[in-house]
Every structure is written in C-alpha cells, then in structure tokens.
Symmetry: C2
Subunit: 227 residues, 2 copies
Amino acid sequence: MNKILKLNTRDRTTLLKTPMMTSLGPTSLTRMLDIAAVTNFESRDLVFREGEQAEHFFCVLSGYVRLFRLIKEGREADIRVCGPGDVFAECLLAGGETYLYHAQAAENVTLARFELAKVRTLASQESDVARTMIVLLSNHLMSTMEVVANDRLQTAPQRVAHYLLHNCQDENGSASIRLPFQKSLLAGKLGLAPEALSRAFSALRRAGVTVRGRVIQISDVGALKQV
Amino acid sequence: MNKILKLNTRDRTTLLKTPMMTSLGPTSLTRMLDIAAVTNFESRDLVFREGEQAEHFFCVLSGYVRLFRLIKEGREADIRVCGPGDVFAECLLAGGETYLYHAQAAENVTLARFELAKVRTLASQESDVARTMIVLLSNHLMSTMEVVANDRLQTAPQRVAHYLLHNCQDENGSASIRLPFQKSLLAGKLGLAPEALSRAFSALRRAGVTVRGRVIQISDVGALKQV
DNA sequence: CGGGTGCTTGATACCGATCAACCCACGTGG
DNA sequence: CCACGTGGGTTGATCGGTATCAAGCACCCG
C-alpha cells in the first residue's frame, strides 16, 4: 500500500494536469517530476499523523483525503477534505517541523509526494516554481478564509445550499449533481455532524432539493440562492 | 486621514522590523520600500469594502484592523483581527480581482500599502521577495487552519484559555496579560459574541482567571491548560 | 452632573451535537 | 435461497452551548 514508487505514465499525466504543475516552464517541470514520488493508500489508512516529523507535502491524484484533529477520546473533527488536484500540508513550506493534523484516506487514493526541503530549494532557484507555490498558497488561503467566514455566519442548510451552488455549472433553472464522495465526508467538509447534514437536506426539500443516494436534483437554482 | 504618503523615518523603521521585511536582502529591501506607501485611518474608518476592486495589500504598522463580512441587515461577523506586523489581503497575490471582506480600523491605525501588481512582478524578479511571500502565506495559512480547527472543536471557555496560554510567556505558575485591544475585538477574533466572551471569562474564574479591565491575571497556568 | 461607551448579567430561543433506534442495500455463508 | 451481519444513512428525543434581546452597571469625559 504505502510503497513508494517513481511515477508511472498514467499518474504522470494526471499530475501534469494538476493546478500545481500546469503553469510551470519545461525545466521546472522536469525538476519537479524528478523529485515526485507516488504513494497509494487504502481506505482509512493514515497518510500521516499530527505531530509527526514533517518531510513531505502531497498532491491528490485520485480519491479523497480527510484532514482532521482529535478532540477527546476518539472524537474527531474534519478540517478539510482534499480531492483530485488538491495539495495539502504545503503550508509547512515556511519551515514547519511537524504535521498539524492527521491525514486519512477516505477511500483508495493515490498521492504524489514531494520533499518539502527539495521544493524549498527548487523554489529559490526557479522563479516559476516560487510563483506556483505563491499561487497555490494564495488560493488555499482564500478558500480557508472562506471556510472560516461560512462557519461563522451560515447555518447548516445555508452551507449545504452554498456547496450545491458552487458545484453546479447551471446559472438558473434546474440542475443535477452527483456527489463525488460519501455524505459523511461532505458533512465533515462543511463542519457538520452527519445527522445535521441529513436534516439540512430535508430542510432544503421545500427549496426544491431532492436527494437520492449520491444524486442531488435541484429544481430551481434561483430559489436556492435565496437561502 | 487616508492621505497617501511616502514613508517617514519612524514608519520606515517600524516597517523594517516587520516579519515581511526582515529576511529580505538589501536590493529587495530597497525595491520594496520604493513601492511602499503609508495610509492612516481613524477608528471605524473602512480600509476597503468587500467586492471593491483590489489593488493593494497591507501591513499593519500600528493599531488593529478588523476583517469581517456582513450577514443580513447590518449584522457582521469577524474573520480576522490584524495587529502590528500582520499582513492582510495578501491572499490576492494569486490574481484575485476584488476584496473578499470588509476591512475596518478598530482604532487609529497606520498601514503600509503595497500594489499587488508591483509586488507580483517584484516576486518574479527577486527570489527572496518570492521566498518571503511564500513564508508569509504559509504562516498565514497555518494560523487560519488553526482557526478553523479551534472553531470546530473548542467551546468558548476553551478558546479563551487557548488564547491566554498562547499570549503569556510563562510556562507555569502565575502570569499577567494586558489585552492590546478591546474585549469586543477579542470576541470577534475568537468567533464569539461579546456576551459569550464575558461569560467565558466568568466561567474561567474557577480556573484561576481574574479580569479587571484589560488586565488578566492567571493564578495557575498549569491548571488553565487542563480546560 | 448628564450622556456616551464598553462591558456584564439575566432570560429566552435556536441551532446543532449527541445518543439511540431504525431502515436499507449489500455481501457472505450456511 | 434465505438468515445474518455490516456500513451508511435517516429520524427522533434530548441536551448543551451560544446567539440574541433587554436591562443594568462602571467608567470616562465633557
């Protein structure tokens, strides 16, 4: 499972389409690929633990990874959910010593792995690597601040509506979404208990939201924006 | 009030001691100082509004700035509170078009102001500017994820205890802290209503925390860590 | 002394976590 | 083919924490 490998061609093409690679020039690209490795994890495997010595950051190639902290006696709270293309633990580029949270595979995942130290020096040598890191960190920071704001001023149904609206391309009329992961993961992503998500969905029924399994029908996108 | 000026010598020395400047080499330093400007705001002035065209980011030289969003009908929720040395709106370095929240002076403040576009190009030319931006963004991202985690798994008294412990140097025994700003600001920083902060303090009385005005006495630091 | 402002305190309402039971889909093995 | 177990999801009842609204208090400064 966590055998470390050089990239095979399929993983390589997946990685190249990732936001952390698309804007690199040819030399930076090869140098980055040079230090990239691939690790696979099965569902529920831990990628790393909070407090562990931090040597790598990761980019999701397929599957989903859950970042969380422990409260008391096995209770845990999600901080973030990462899907394909997402990068995590890159906030340790500044020089953090240890991981700040646990990372767990929510299903079978394959990750690209980069040594923090090597990327640090690479960023100091290749300006487009540095630029890419700045863009990554900026975007990640923006979305994290968005999470803080939403946590602090939206109720459960509002968060769900917000998520749905940001994940359907249609501007108005009806839309259909297939969740890429389990509902319990979505609950964690939104900072809710699974039961609360369930109730939020049933509260949104009268706003035209129908749920069957992972498929969500929205009868009127405009109406959903009012919530 | 919001007259734009070149730096005077006092502001200049303040800025130079700021984390965003300390690790720059001589040429980067002068180039950054070259594009820096100073703005002053009186208490309750808006530095910028959510949705406004974003052209600058800021570094606090003195005073405190509140970043917040509006909910409904004048109700507002704080996202972050910035003090001396803190940088804000730097997450737009990736190329964001507009500000994502309102920024308001919580008291009389003086800010250093940088054009996003100029810093972007500067970062692509001077590797230590890029490195500094990476460090800034990394640290900011780490602390923001910390906020998400704390919001999601700590109660009000725990957040206050956490804040106190991270703001007193003493490891054990007793300690004393003077809040650098109003309690209502602290409440916002911790994601609480002012009343909730007040109640949290009185709940912490039996953990040896005494509050008189802005001065907070902690009789037993070790005991506070248990909360 | 009067009037602000910031803070505290009390009463109430609401939201979401928690615990428990149940349902359903699925896979397994007798 | 059916009994059984498992895991994900829903639903209901209850509890706790915090927001909200309202009133009162302490302090500062005119």
